[in-house]
């Protein structure tokens, strides 16, 4: 058993409380300790990405082995799909902590910030690594409660209202999920995902199955902000401090929302056609409604938050197309292409949306306003911020050679090959409207003439913030090499293999 797997959860957890104790006595220790912990996590997660390949590592917590081939302990599972998401979580987290070294210095009580941040990282790592559903619920709650506190960090009127809405909707999601878990336990008498798959493959009651799937889809859909469950996202993501917005929009809705939906619906439930059509239509609705609500916004961060909804719609759409093809049992190589496109778009979105939120934070740090109509001409006074935001805007609109172009191309090609011409047309139209929205952002913020206030000295932001933005910009360029066949075999193909063939997942864990 791989001994590095529990360290993903234990090290940030111990680090969070260590920061609270030692930060009271030694000044400035909290920043460096948090950066060290996250650097260690980044190194370990990249190492496990390159050594996992096609194998599935299972870690049995407490050493409880299976009895009569029925798993009785808590399992932590690391396979190809998990390794990718771990790399995204830890890398964006590390860059956010470096960014917040100078951004959070303007708030009071920095101790609590770094401690809550490490707790949120521990929770997210636990969600993607766990092998049974109740453990997913516990770690989901750890990261959710930490994020409620982090959204309300500077206690102003806007932030408190945003976190109240976030908390009530998050609470409803939690209890829907727990009700779904209770109903699953009633029928299958076990909590292990692989074991539930084995029990369901012997036969189930149709109406009960539909009820459990609807409950779990609603609960995790509220966490992932799919339409019609998106009401908390614009307020929470625009009122939070900028590194937390980058973490929330770039990582949290993926790790605890989209990842769990994909994992449960491919590896635990047998895919039915009605559910697949429902998921695809929810994805396409998210795509269209998100971008139409985003075009008319004048607040930078609200604009970016609505675009998050739209891009998550792309991912759900392509995963749904894969599900429809698998449930009909035809053309499975196109299903593999669609799922690979969805996962690739997930990785790309973390990179460019994180970079866009960090840029918005840099603009707010220098000027003090978030309204697009009050700023202009920043390309001369803030060159590095302007260059990286141009890279990110071109990525999200899908312009070659940046990474957004390749992932959207794979999704549209998969939709056309599967004969869903209307969905492919919708994807192209939404991409064009996204391009229009970001051209507006670029023009008003950077390339406009500065009409007044030359007396305000606008300088470039301090070095830690620049470092994170430039590294993310380089990653946006580098991620487009994931489409080439040699590198795709190492990283993306193990993920799609483990999702497409659920009996392989179940057999490698329970040994049946």
């Amino acid at each position: 058993m791989n001994p590095l797997i529990p360290l993903f959860v234990a090290i940030p957890l111990a680090g969070a409380f260590l920061i609270m104790i030692l930060g009271r006595f030694i000044r400035n220790l909290n920043k460096y300790l948090a950066s060290l912990i996250l650097l260690f996590l980044v190194v370990v997660s990249f190492w496990s990405l390159f050594t996992t390949g096609n194998s599935v590592s299972v870690y049995k917590v407490g050493g409880w082995e299976a009895v009569n081939s029925v798993p009785i302990g808590i399992y932590m599972v690391l396979d190809g799909f998990t390794a990718i998401i771990l790399c995204i979580i830890n890398l964006i987290g590390f860059l956010s902590v470096i960014y917040s070294i100078s951004y959070i210095a303007r708030y009071t009580s920095e101790n609590y910030f770094y401690s809550l941040f490490c707790l949120m990282m521990a929770g997210m790592n636990g969600v993607v690594l766990s092998g049974d559903i109740f453990n997913i619920f516990v770690f989901l709650e750890i990261s959710a409660i930490s994020s409620y506190a982090l959204v309300a960090f500077g206690v102003e009127k806007n932030e408190l209202e945003a976190t109240f809405k976030y908390q009530v909707l998050g609470g409803i999601a939690t209890f829907l999920i727990l009700m779904g878990i209770a109903l699953i336990y009633w029928e299958t008498k076990t909590l292990n995902i692989a074991d539930i798959r084995n029990v369901f493959s012997t036969g189930y009651d149709r109406k009960y199955y539909l009820l459990v799937q609807i409950l779990l889809l609603s609960g995790f859909g509220l966490k992932a902000a799919i339409i019609p469950f998106h009401a908390w996202l614009p307020d929470a993501h625009s009122s939070a401090p900028s590194p937390i917005s980058a973490m929330l929009s770039g990582v949290l809705i993926k790790a605890v929302g989209i990842y769990v939906i994909i994992r449960l619906f491919f590896n635990m439930f047998a895919i039915s056609e009605g559910m697949a059509i429902l998921i695809t239509s929810l994805g396409s609705l998210s795509m269209v409604i998100g971008v139409f609500l985003a075009v008319s916004q004048w607040d930078i961060k609200r604009l970016l938050a609505y675009h998050s909804i739209s891009q998550m719609g792309y991912v759900i759409l392509s995963v749904g197309i894969g599900m429809i093809l698998i449930s009909r049992g035809i053309r499975t190589e196109i299903a593999a292409l669609a799922i690979a496109g969805g996962i690739f778009h997930l990785i790309n979105h973390a990179a460019f949306k994180g970079l866009l939120f960090l840029n918005a934070g840099a603009i707010e740090y220098s000027i003090g306003t978030r309204n697009l109509q009050e700023m202009g001409g920043l390309s001369k006074t803030m060159p590095a911020t302007s260059a990286t935001s141009l890279v990110a805007s071109l990525s999200i609109s899908g312009i070659p050679p940046f990474n957004g172009f390749f992932s959207k191309l794979i999704i549209i090609v998969a939709a056309i090959l599967a004969k869903f011409y209307f969905l492919a047309l919708l994807a192209v139209i939404v991409s064009i409207i996204t391009l229009a929205s970001f051209m507006k952002f670029q023009r008003y913020a950077f390339f406009n003439k500065a009409d007044d206030d030359n007396s305000r000295t606008i300088k470039e932001v301090p070095f830690p913030m620049l470092f994170s933005m430039i590294v993310l910009g380089i990653i946006c360029l580098l991620l487009s090499i994931l489409v080439f066949p040699g590198i795709r075999e190492i990283i993306l193909t193990p993920a799609t293999d483990i999702l497409m063939d659920p009996s392989k997942y179940a057999s490698q864990i329970t040994g049946i």
């Binding site: 234990a10 111990a14 409380f17 260590l18 609270m20 407490g62």
Partner: protein, 145 residues
């Protein structure tokens, strides 16, 4: 905050000692009877909160109290996490394993690491509930000044 009348103060002094003892009993016998860390910790916090409510306290003493309870909470949970990580070093080298010798079932000193976990989780839950209570009271004092 103002305290209550003399009868309530004297009764609370008598009873909170008994509640404290009962909380420790529930924590220590966690591997034999129902209860354990969480429930015993809440009872333990109840003893402190009863004393604060009955006798009242001024603002400075409450702030010092909150500093102390936060320190206890962080220390206790750090020790609990290090106990679970110590399974990686001793015993069968698995996270969270039960590596101390287990005696005969039914005795007070048995079942390996579990009584130690119960004690530290009990201290941690008591300290954290006390911190929540003190934080809300201190905030109320701040806005009413």
């Amino acid at each position: 905050m103002k305290g209550m009348t003399l009868i309530v103060k004297k009764t609370a002094q008598l009873i909170s000692g008994l509640i404290f003892l009962y909380g420790i009993y529930v924590i220590i016998h966690g591997h034999l009877t129902p209860g354990g860390g969480f429930a015993g910790g809440v009872i333990l916090a109840g003893a402190f909160i009863l004393q604060i409510l009955a006798s009242g306290s001024d603002f400075m003493k409450l702030t010092k109290e909150e500093l102390g309870s936060t320190m206890y909470e962080n220390l206790a949970i750090l020790i609990a996490v290090f106990l679970s990580l110590s399974g990686l070093l001793f015993g069968a080298k698995v996270f969270f394993i039960n590596w101390l010798p287990k005696g005969t079932p039914g005795e007070l000193v048995s079942a390996g690491v579990m009584p130690l976990y119960n004690i530290f989780i009990g201290i941690e839950v008591a300290a954290s509930i006390l911190t929540i209570f003190l934080a809300l009271v201190i905030f109320k004092e701040e806005i009413s000044e």
